[in-house]
Symmetry: C2
Subunit: 231 residues, 2 copies
DNA sequence: TGATTTATTTTGACTAATCAAAATACCGGC
DNA sequence: GCCGGTATTTTGATTAGTCAAAATAAATCA
């Protein structure tokens, strides 16, 4: 007795939710086929496990499995995935802005909470936080209607030299990197410019706006920091 | 490689946490043996399932199983159970006081969240809420140190006639009863008195303090409302 | 005491999720 | 068109948690 009309709420286990969410993160557009190995790596399971699970998800109509080629979300799977991602990012925002938690710790916390909060709590959190567009790391929060407005940005590794830019997003969510970024004041909102790039050395020099303080950063790290033109 | 010293955090699944929490609720003192059937009923599983699970918990040192007599928490099991109960009741308090949710709905919500929040989030919620002693239903919140101060109260069914009393706790957590109680202003803090008791009819008449409004209540319902002398 | 009822435990089977390791398909190079 | 390497799938086994139904123990009644 399976239901699949629009009104029926899918009852997904947290394992299923995690598979769908990671598929969304690995192919935001929803068209690209995600290779099984990439999905398995993201979920930290062996490839065989991912294959088995994906076939089950395909039976439920949540994903499309092209054997040996890859897997992608169906519209229904995407709907569920967007809702989980919205919970994840709103929870992170709550933890940082209301509970004042360290932004380096909230990802792991939200990894659990995203499966435990109801849609009603989600809505109320959203209202309490003033309907934020992005989470503390600058990651866009899917709208209630399932729109994920994901722009393409330059990074500190690619932006124009000596042009003032503002940090909009940190793409490396690991506690280590976030801790490091915070210590150097590299957070969404920070205005700065790249004073110099030394490609052979793989280094670049930063200058904070309205301050003479300088800092240097590796090209690899710089590539994880998305920016937009300031002002 | 099992650890069981004080510093080691037990890694309990949410199933295990639910078993331990319900054992605590069924025998707050921690001495009484809980019959297997009572535990199974509370968890909504068949008795055989409870027996199997209890034997596993006994192997982990979380409960003491006296075959055919019943089961009770060990000190270690009680420690875990108190922490889960603290999470449950602080989450309920947060949902009502901060997110303004209906007090009839928060129990089911907290049933999931109690397994998803970390001890750090717990502490921060506690601070945000001003270290509350009781949840919205008047249920006592175990302290961080694991003290559960559970007083013995009179109920509206047993308290002195025509003496002004204050509601301190509603023991029936079902949405239906809580909804009903709210509609009649029967919430912790409410001051009132029992104007009359008609035992044969199983009815009693209430009079709200500072108002001439009267209401009648069944004895069964009245027994679920705990009160203390007002003032 | 013996029979009947009730509570508990045991047994066997099932589902979801996982891993290890073997089998298979596909790729690029020659 | 075969060969070796890589990615994927398949197979078989394991763990946590559950139920149905049979077996057993204990309590109650005659
Ligand atoms: Mn998760
Ligand atoms: Mn984030
Ligand atoms: Mn629970
Ligand atoms: Mn409560």
């Amino acid at each position: 007795m399976r239901r699949s009309d629009a009104s029926a709420q899918i009852v997904a286990t947290s394992t299923v939710e995690n598979y769908l969410k990671h598929l969304l993160l690995l192919a935001e557009d929803g068209e690209t086929l995600v290779p099984m190995g990439a999905l398995a790596a993201a979920l930290e399971v062996v490839p065989g496990t991912a294959t088995t699970m994906v076939k089950a998800l395909a039976d439920e109509g949540l994903v499309l499995h092209r054997p040996r080629l890859g897997v992608r979300l169906t519209p229904e799977g995407r709907r569920v995935a967007l809702n989980v991602l919205r919970k994840h990012r709103l929870v992170e925002t709550f933890l940082v802005h209301v509970l004042k938690m360290d932004w380096a710790k909230v990802h792991d916390e939200a990894e659990q909470l995203e499966h435990a909060i109801s849609d009603e709590v989600l809505d109320r959190l959203d209202a309490l936080l003033g309907h934020p567009q992005t989470d503390p790391h600058g990651d866009p929060i899917p709208s209630r209607q399932g729109k994920l407005h994901s722009q393409v940005y330059a990074t500190l590794a690619t932006c124009t030299l000596d042009r003032s830019v503002r940090i909009v997003r940190i793409t490396d969510q690991s506690p280590e990197f976030l801790q490091f970024a915070e210590q150097h004041g590299l957070q969404p909102g920070t205005a700065l410019r790249v004073a110099d790039r030394n490609l052979p050395a793989g280094l670049l020099a930063l200058r904070r706006s309205g301050s003479s303080a300088a800092a240097s950063l590796s090209l690899v790290a710089a590539g994880k920091i998305l920016v937009e033109p300031a002002r």
